[in-house]
Symmetry: C2
Subunit: 240 residues, 2 copies
């Protein structure tokens, strides 16, 4: 499996992705699931992928090939993020159709900004269509999403800072990694500041990352302490 989160707040975009791929517990390896494309000053895109690895790799290769060959439509000439999502959905459908049978689905998060167009975050479904994040729910997830959803639901709002969104996304990823073996390091984090049109800050945390360990230990301690401050259960009434 995979776990990727995209967050779209007022300040910009934040992405986190894991790198574990598996075809069963005895066939595990690591592949980056975060890809960046852009022209400084003109456009920036971040893409995260989940699903069948052959499909997602085929799609990303085609994205790169189309840019090299300067086809009619590619990421470096589309007018906005919506058009980019439509293009990506088309590539994904075409790639899936190359193979007979089921189980070759893939999902993508795509976020970014094009000069004179809006900064947006979208989710491309295996069927090729897409949705956009909303002001009320300023995040989208792909892959193994349930473990890490509650922290996002509690914390994120449109006015959340990118720094806080990054911490929230890392805690969400840590919760998922701990509860599900099919999600694992390296973890990639990318922060794109709205209007910058330059590649955002990008960092990779490997399994032995001191920062990731420190974050997990700190969060465990915070959760333990928070529980001690909750209002005690009142057992006296049958209904209260």
């Amino acid at each position: 499996m995979t776990y990727c989160v995209g967050i779209a707040v007022g300040e910009g975009l934040l992405f986190v992705s894991d790198s574990r791929t598996s075809a069963g517990v005895d066939n595990i390896s690591s592949h980056s699931k975060m890809h960046r494309f852009g022209v400084p000053g003109e456009r920036q895109f971040i893409i995260c992928s989940a699903g069948n690895l052959a499909t997602t790799q085929g799609v990303i290769s085609q994205v790169e090939r189309d840019i090299r060959r300067n086809t009619d439509v590619h990421l470096l000439n589309v007018a906005n993020v919506g058009d980019a999502a439509t293009y990506l959905g088309g590539l994904s459908r075409a790639e899936q159709k190359k193979t007979e049978g089921n189980g070759f689905e893939a999902s993508f998060l795509i976020g970014g900004e094009v000069l004179d167009a809006a900064c947006r975050l979208m989710l491309v479904y295996p069927q090729g269509n897409h949705i956009v994040s909303s002001d009320q729910t300023p995040f989208l997830q792909i892959g193994e999403l349930k473990y890490g959803k509650p922290i996002l639901d509690r914390v994120l709002a449109l006015n959340t800072t990118l720094e806080r969104a990054a911490l929230c996304a890392l805690v969400s990823m840590d919760a998922t990694m701990r509860s599900n073996l099919s999600v694992g390091t390296p973890i990639e984090l990318n922060l794109y500041r709205r209007g910058s049109l330059t590649p955002g800050a990008h960092v990779v945390y490997t399994e032995d990352s001191p920062y990731l360990r420190q974050l997990r230990n700190s969060w465990d301690e915070e959760i333990m302490n928070a529980l001690t401050r909750l209002p005690a259960v009142n057992w006296s009434g049958q209904t209260q």
Copy 2:
């Protein structure tokens, strides 16, 4: 869907269950999923159920009927929790076989204690077999389990107090309710103290419960504050 957690720590057992049943979003109602049986001073059992409502209600009715008719094997004459789980699994299989087709599966948590036998927590699968909780993972879940698992993974250990286990279970339930509409109030909580052999403390929280609202608000605030105390993301290095 449903969400139930059973926790087995040194001090005893803790159960939490929701009450929402649904056959689609336009057919929602409330049924208790927690059932208690016992003879004070001799034995106590707590059962939580998930899955097809006709199956779970059929099984619980049969449990009550067997007690009334004093059949060869029933909850008030089995020697221990393991035998009770085997009996429950048999009833579940029999109930499922009454109906043709698929989708009539049910899962159960059963915990309790019989005089001169161990205090135990078990999960009965739809197939009728069962597993027991371990000292390393002192909890079992049925139903919509992923949203609420991370907090249990972070907090619970064999030496966790029942009071803390109760708070942890309520936070786990709150996370699940918030992220998944198919899990909802009333919430039931039951605390059984090992060796007591008397019915444990039991409380029901309805949708407008001030305590439940207070708990959610406190937890949200704690999480927000905890995030501000985490070590800041270090963006300087490519790999750290």
